[in-house]
């Protein structure tokens, strides 16, 4: 979102001469490339991550954890009146999830697997392949992220577009934006040039919170990295805690992606998509033709 406006084209809409559409350069080429590379990375990371999770579908807190140790989340299958049943167990509650979690069909046959074939990569059980793909895309993701961060700082993108202004943090301002979002009223005209405060806070939360947490908890799962940086184990409270936080953070990222895609669709899918592909974002101005 560059401040400078370059009206690439101004086409008066046929019947209303007072409205004109201008195009601004919204996203730089670095932002656009890193965004779409991130889409590819996160897709493979999440699907291969669920493949890895399936090898041991229980989550613990602490340094150690296996079969007989208490788990706060278990996805599994059991017999219920002679019928196999998939379940998700959290604390004391058990939810039947036959067909999706714990027990699902593999090539037409019921199979005991935590996440179903359509949510894992590869679709069939193959921990070695899942790990290879996970680590390859983890590297791409980290390198891509570093380029994006470097560019964001050096180009002024973060300072200009993501930094929250003091007046935006006023409770009344935030509350109004929440109401506007809830009513699906999105900024138009001049206001659409900039991210609103909810967007800024969300993007900052993802860029500076969830994504670094993803990487750090992932690194804590590596015995090599734990030997190089033993404090990782102290920060997250152990390898099993780090594994659980890795899973929880990934789930929050999935929630972010769902909301993000919903917002893109609700606030003008073509304009948003175009701006992330070509960089050009249309703004409709209500003003007399010059």
């Amino acid at each position: 979102m560059n401040q400078e406006t370059r009206p690439l084209r101004s086409t008066p809409l046929q019947s209303t001469p007072r409205r004109r559409t201008i195009f601004i350069r919204r996203h730089t080429v670095v932002t656009r490339l890193s965004h779409w590379l991130n889409v590819v990375c996160l897709s493979f990371l999440i699907l291969s991550g669920l493949q890895i999770f399936n090898a041991y579908p229980r989550l613990h807190w602490g340094q150690y954890g296996m079969d007989s140790d208490p788990a706060f989340l278990t996805i599994g299958a059991s017999e219920n009146h002679g019928m196999p049943q998939g379940f998700v167990k959290t604390g004391s509650g058990t939810i039947p999830t036959t067909g999706v979690l714990g027990l699902s069909k593999v090539e037409g046959e019921w199979a005991s697997r935590a996440f179903p074939t359509w949510l894992t990569f590869p679709s069939y059980q193959d921990l070695a392949a899942g790990r290879n793909w996970h680590f390859f895309f983890a590297w791409v993701f980290v390198i891509n992220g570093l380029i994006y961060l470097g560019h964001g700082v050096l180009s002024g993108h973060f300072r200009r577009d993501l930094a929250v202004r003091r007046h935006e943090l006023a409770p009344r301002h935030i509350w109004r934006e929440i109401l506007d979002h809830a009513r699906l009223r999105f900024p138009a005209g001049e206001a659409a040039r900039h991210y609103n405060v909810l967007q800024k806070l969300t993007y900052i939360g993802v860029i500076a919170g969830l994504l670094p947490l993803m990487i750090l908890t992932g690194l804590t799962l590596s015995p090599g990295m734990d030997a190089a940086f033993p404090s990782l184990l102290d920060i997250f409270g152990g390898r099993q805690s780090a594994r659980s936080l890795h899973f929880i953070t990934a789930s929050l990222l999935v929630v972010f992606v769902i909301v993000h895609v919903a917002m893109v669709i609700l606030s003008g899918p073509w304009n948003n998509l175009r701006s992330m592909v070509t960089g050009r974002y249309a703004i409709r101005r209500k003003e007399p033709d010059a």
Partner: protein, 257 residues
Amino acid sequence: MTDLTRRRFLIGSALGVSALALSGCDRLEQNPEVGGVIRSAEKLTMRAQRLLLGRDALAREFAETDISPAFRVNGTSAPDGEAYAQLVEGNFANWRLKIDGLVDRPLELSLADLKKLPARTQITCHDCVEGWSAIAKWTGVPLGSLLAATGLKPSARFAVFHCADELEKTLDGSGRYYESIDLIDAFHPQTILAYRMNDRDLSVGHGAPLRLRVERQLGYKQAKYIMHIEIVDSFAALWGGKGGFWEDRGYEWYAGI
């Protein structure tokens, strides 16, 4: 580009990506060229970790109170075969550890010989590739001290551990467990040949009489039932050629991640 062609391009690429995602994924994994690129990340990971680790960075050691109540017996729980059964029956008195290959003075050691050597005790976390972990106390002989005693020929690069257990039944014996590490890990102070676990003799389930502890790597590197250590310059000629039972089945040779 007009709006319409742009729109078509966007729809087209979105559809293309989803189609690829739904149908092509497994085929991507099975394509050897793609697989080669994907697996190249292992070398990058190993180089980066070695750079950060240096030779002697130690894995975290825990307190007695951190030892986990249970420790899963994974892989083989008891090797098959008459030979191993007889060893168990004789309380491993007839067992000998052979160290040979690219060494100056090959060695043969009994369990009693090993127990007389200076030992190291460490309480460490065993991280399985599947995701679980367990903490235990291990006592054994540092591998580096044995290799110093045998002396290594200049061409020596890897230590290969040949084990008594067959994890997969095959006609050609390629299901026999084996593992390998390079000399950096072989001479690491925490790399020991353990004969005690949690203050008791190593049980059959956990690899009696001797198992490897190489603490900066995952569980499948911690070979159990060690019979023979061979120093080699390459493991290409051994079984699948990838340096280990699980490595021959697609897992990384460098298991620091």
